[in-house]
Amino acid sequence: MTGTKSARIYLNTFNNSATQQLSNGSIPMQHTHIKANQAWWKIDWREILDYRDLLFMLVLRDLTSVYKQTILGPLWFVIQPLITSVVFTIIFGTVAKVPTDGIPQFIFYMSGTVFWNYFQGCMTHSASSLGSNTSLMTKVYFPRLIIPLSGAMSNLAYFGLNLIMFFGFYFYFLFFTTATMHPQVNLIFLPFLVLQCALLGIGIGLWVAAMTIKYRDLRFALPFLISIWMYATPIVYPASLVVNPAMRLVLCMNPMTFIVESVRFLLTGTGTVTLTCAMLSIGMTIFFLVTGLFLFNRAQRTFVDMI
């Protein structure tokens, strides 16, 4: 200890003459205190705000780099859900004859698919945020939360394109066919459902990201967990098909049920939305988001040492 102490004094006196005024203009001096075991519940939101340009660049990178050197380019964003909806209509609608509560089958399946895709996009992007950017994260520091956030935003862009396509079909079925759909006044709440979808996706994704550092198994389990989850969500069947009250509660335990059914209800006037279901879904979204943020925040501090 004495050695380091004298060294410190040495350096201080040695450099007194060399002190120069930092010419950083109007930017206020930044103070950082690096210490061990930073509190897991402390998330530096202001820092994330400071890095908003990086967030923007990452979103731009996601959007522009994915479909470079493809002929159809961003059209792929709408082709995927379109084809999925067509396939669902044929298999579950025409072949299996699953009821759709009187909603035009195509609209029924597409509404579910578009929202599910957004949820899944946010979730997988957050889940892989630490794993797929290791080379970056072992070299530079930036608030790690930027990556899941950028995923939610770039997926929002895809979602927007999908929604435009969806509304095209929706208005066609509404005005040019005999289908009976009753859009609700509450449709203005649709953006809240989109937000909930994103927050839930990020929350679950952050959980997965934090856990994947220690348990790589999750990387293999995630894809089929997602597809199981999809079939546990009333996307290819209406919630009204589940009549057993116990089973209905189980269905409500899935926070995506409320979102998908509410979307359908707001658009067509048909859908099973109960207060219990809504409370459960919103409660779980908040729970997963908050705990996911903390878990992720704790995991990101030293994950570089673990990979």
Partner: protein, 442 residues
């Protein structure tokens, strides 16, 4: 006393060796079970790796031997505008220190206080996306390194001009040559404007001219009042660039002081370890090496010389009776293994060689000052027959540094752009005043 820009207090970082996680579900369940019962789980669990050297099967999960202190109680301060070098052998904790200061990872204990915006040059080209164009990557890379988009836009032309790839700026970087890639990446990094710049071995990449530009840019940055922490194995660059140096050894601070002193002690020790075995008195083809010292003109042993200093290399050897005269050969190599000088003991007089009778003997070769340029040089000695076989040779047995404390007025930080900088006489042969009508033409 000024507030230090970086203040490091008892910083430590421990790594667990071997497997990091509890590996199987069973382990994990056991671990949780013991935690739930409020016991120390490590005491009840089988060791993760079945290491037979462990005393018994139920050895603690993380025995003390499995822990590796990459940093242990490191403390020092860096004042504003200072360039501090960090040296030390591989695994001494240099990179770990930078990783903690850049917040890539977190210390196990201790504190560091940083006043100002930090940017690191840990590796150039971080975050380049192959599908994006040069232009897009400049913005991408810049924001990753912590710049604002506005700042990058303002400096964009400057960055592109520095990289010299104006023509290809709208081409995806996957089509770039590796040289273009590095140039662009460095151009971005060089135009960062942080208060504190952390540099780790960037000088190891790229060709000589690129390295020079790196150093030049660092000098410029430092001149602007920025603080730089410079981690390098290139001692020559450290001495040239840094005023003070921190020497890390096994995660601890070994010495802090003026660059020249610390580097000299460091090289002395590094060389001492590697050469001790070379003089252990083995006969090689009738020759036995007994010692080699590098001294300055006053006779003191040292490893660091000013460019003006004479360098005395003294060789002790013993020889048995030889059948044929031999000569002593001294080779001076650069750090890149290029032989820059070859001095033989029969240079002036081809007939003058070592006598053939058995004896101990000490020879001295004087390398005159103002011959070698600044840099690190390694010394090899050998005995051979003129135009004949090598009897015995010790390769790269010692090294010394030539540094420059006075300005010769050339190149970057006064460094001359050559391996040798021999002092050669100049004289004005004649000079006369310009005639009237020639005066105006300039």
């Amino acid at each position: 006393m000024t507030t230090p820009t970086i203040s490091i207090l008892n910083l430590s970082k421990v790594y667990n060796l071997g497997a990091i996680n509890r590996h199987t579900l069973v382990d994990e369940a056991q671990y949780l079970w013991h935690r739930l019962r409020g016991r120390n789980p490590n005491q009840h669990m089988a060791p993760i790796a079945q290491d037979h050297t462990l005393p018994h099967k139920n050895a603690p999960l993380l025995a003390k031997a499995d822990r590796f202190w990459a940093l242990k109680d490191v403390s020092f301060d860096v004042s504003p505008g200072e360039i501090v070098g960090i040296i030390g052998p591989n695994g001494s904790g240099k990179s770990t220190l930078l990783k903690i200061l850049t917040r890539i990872t977190e210390p196990t204990s201790g504190d560091a206080f940083i006043n100002g915006r930090v940017a690191s040059l840990l590796e150039v080209g971080t975050g380049f996306h192959p599908e994006l164009t040069g232009r897009e990557n400049v913005f991408m890379n810049g924001t990753i390194l912590g710049m604002k988009k506005k700042e990058i836009a303002k400096k964009f032309d400057e960055i592109v001009a520095f990289s010299e790839i104006e023509k290809f700026i709208d081409t995806p970087v996957k089509r770039y040559s590796s040289g273009m890639y590095v140039r662009l990446a460095f151009a971005v990094a060089a135009h960062l404007n942080p208060d504190i710049l952390l540099v780790d071995e960037v000088l190891a990449v790229g060709d000589a001219s690129f390295q020079k530009r790196c150093i030049g840019k660092l000098e410029e940055t430092a001149a602007g009042g920025r603080t730089i922490l410079f981690v390098s194995h290139n001692l020559h660059a450290v001495v040239a660039l840094c005023r003070s140096v921190v020497w890390l050894d096994h995660g601890r601070v070994r010495m802090i002081g003026p660059a020249r002193e610390v580097v000299a002690r460091y090289t002395q020790e590094a060389i001492g370890q590697s050469t001790a075995s070379a003089f252990e008195g083995k006969w090689q083809s009738d020759i036995r090496w007994e010692g080699l010292q590098i001294r300055n003109a006053t006779g003191d042993e040292t490893e660091v010389f000013d460019i003006n200093d004479d360098i005395l290399i003294e060789i002790d050897l013993a020889q048995k009776t030889l059948v044929q005269p031999v000569r002593l050969v001294l080779r001076i190599r650069t750090a890149d293994d290029e032989v820059v000088a070859l001095c033989t003991s029969n240079w002036n007089d081809p007939s003058a060689s070592l006598p053939i009778e058995a004896c101990h003997r000490k020879l001295r070769c004087r390398l005159r000052g103002n011959t070698l340029n600044t840099g690190t040089y390694r010394v090899s000695v050998g005995v051979d027959r003129p135009r004949g076989a090598v009897l015995s040779e010790l390769i790269n047995i010692k090294s010394f540094q030539v540094i420059q404390t006075t300005d010769h007025g050339g190149g970057i930080f006064g460094q001359l752009d050559s391996i040798l900088s021999p002092l050669q006489p100049w004289e004005t042969v004649w000079q006369k005043p310009l005639t009237d009508n020639a005066k105006g033409s300039l």
